[in-house]
Amino acid sequence: MSDPSGEMRELAKKLLENGEVDRIIGWEKGNLWYQSPPLFITRAEETDRLVFDDFAINSLVTYLLDERDSGKKTGIFVKGCDSRGLVRILQDKQIARESVYVIGLPCSGKKDPRQALSSGASESSQVPPAAKCEECLYPNPVIYDVIIGEAVEAKAKGDRFAAVKEIEAKTADEKYAYWTSQYSKCLRCLACRNVCPACNCRECAFDISKPRILAKENNLSHNMVYHLTRAFHAAGRCVECGECERVCPMGIPIMQLNKKIIKEINDLFGPYEAGVKLDETPPPLGTYQTSDPEEFM
């Protein structure tokens, strides 16, 4: 893939100069070679900091929620997975389509900074592709105003539900042992919620202190309430960007449960891919039909 940063900078500069957007969100090079963290710019002279390299893994779309009431227009760069998150936020009517100028970037896979460190690599070529990219079905942005670079081919390896089937094959006791050992580790740092484009409530139930809906005491039972509630709330709305699992410092396999739900929804209502088409009907669990097989509906 050729380096699109030249074109990115030029476009960002133009957009800021002619006042088409108030700010740009992209990525910049960090202090360490394996970091390309999010970058926010409002001045044309700063656009030279923009990069799009192997480590531009962060999705930037949840930042749009921070400014949802400001009336500002944002120019935002999106990869394939990020663009599905953007569709989620738009479909959920959190921001207006006119408040974003979307610059699409076809993506041939990114790398995870934590993996760069743990693998002991000293340069990018030694770092394996990020877990979330290995299963990517939509490397090309599904929504954009302009696109930079050539479309790439999806090269998802193997069965995206392989990890789900592994769990399904376990007995109930084994499943319980597996999930409880995972959820016991949870710090309840809430990073997985905060990064999620489907978690776009203005006030999350877990933040309400009066009355406190989920106790702050960290224990397995509360952690499970957190995880199961989160997973069910994102059911049918999770766009499989994999950001929750990527940000988790404790290595909890959050996507494994998300994918189980996706698989169930596919079997019951599907096939259904969340966040792919902006103008489609709402997600299966967000709508109802009189012909629904459930009689109580």
Partner: protein
Amino acid sequence: MQGIAKQDLNKVLETLSGGGAALLVPMEIDGVTRFARWEQGAKTALGAGNTLLPPKEALFPQNEKVFNYEMSNEEAKIVPSAAAAEETIILGIRPCDVRAIQALDNVFLTKDYVDELYKTRRRHTLLIALGCTQPAPTCFCSSVGGDPLQAEGADIMLWDLGETYGLEALSDKGKDLLKKIDKFMSKSRGKKPAAGKFSLEVDSRGIAEKLHNMFEDPIWDRWYQKCLGCGICTFICPTCHCFDMQEKHTGQWDGYRYRCWDSCMFQEYSLMAGGHNPRPTKKERLRNRFLHKLCFFQERYGMLLCTGCGRCVRECPVGMDITKFIKEVSEVSLNE
């Protein structure tokens, strides 16, 4: 220098944990490196660099009961909790984390406030530090006044000398403990190793004084936006010690009050009862975290609240790099 052969390590650990002491050593559990209770047959992760989770939970657990309450016949009975007074040895703690415990000591034991729960635990805890010959790529203790090879405040110092661990007692408690493992000790020919090179370095001298005048500086506008407002950086930080107080009602008339870790990066942390939030956006929250670490704590206790362990640099999902921040502060010119 005295030393113990690495092949005797298990026997040494067995001896140390004999007599009922809780021996906490770095281990990898379900993919997470942390300090956990060593038992015969457990595999240590002593050579795996610093742990993902710091040892602070041994002294300041994520949840801790403060008192039980019970109401009957219009009377309320309150029974304060007593911290478990179990003898605890933390072995393999790195110098940055020993300094972090000194910071916690300052908070919980000085300035006219003594936290009894912390004090009890601390009094029964002995620290056996392991010097670092090869700093990790995210380590920067030497930039914030630390020494990777020497842990002032530890009871015993260990160094990896290849075939042996060299050791030295730094306190009387440490000397007494060494007597227990006397039979494994031999004269080691090695001497205290030299420190490896740091890849992350920054000049932090004068940072507190400078930041004192930067509360309204535009630097915060450049720094806060990418923050997700999660609790990763504070929960995994060896020095962060904020907590919340909550109650749990176990019956209609009884229950307990507990404290649990809280994070200044959470939106709800500074929310007041009347609904006002003095730190309404991520900007004020990030500013608070950095100022607490790099300015307020120094002013109150004479040390930074960052010991350069590098955990937040490693784990922050948006690459919030405190060393880069320190550097940027040093480049700000205040007399325009």
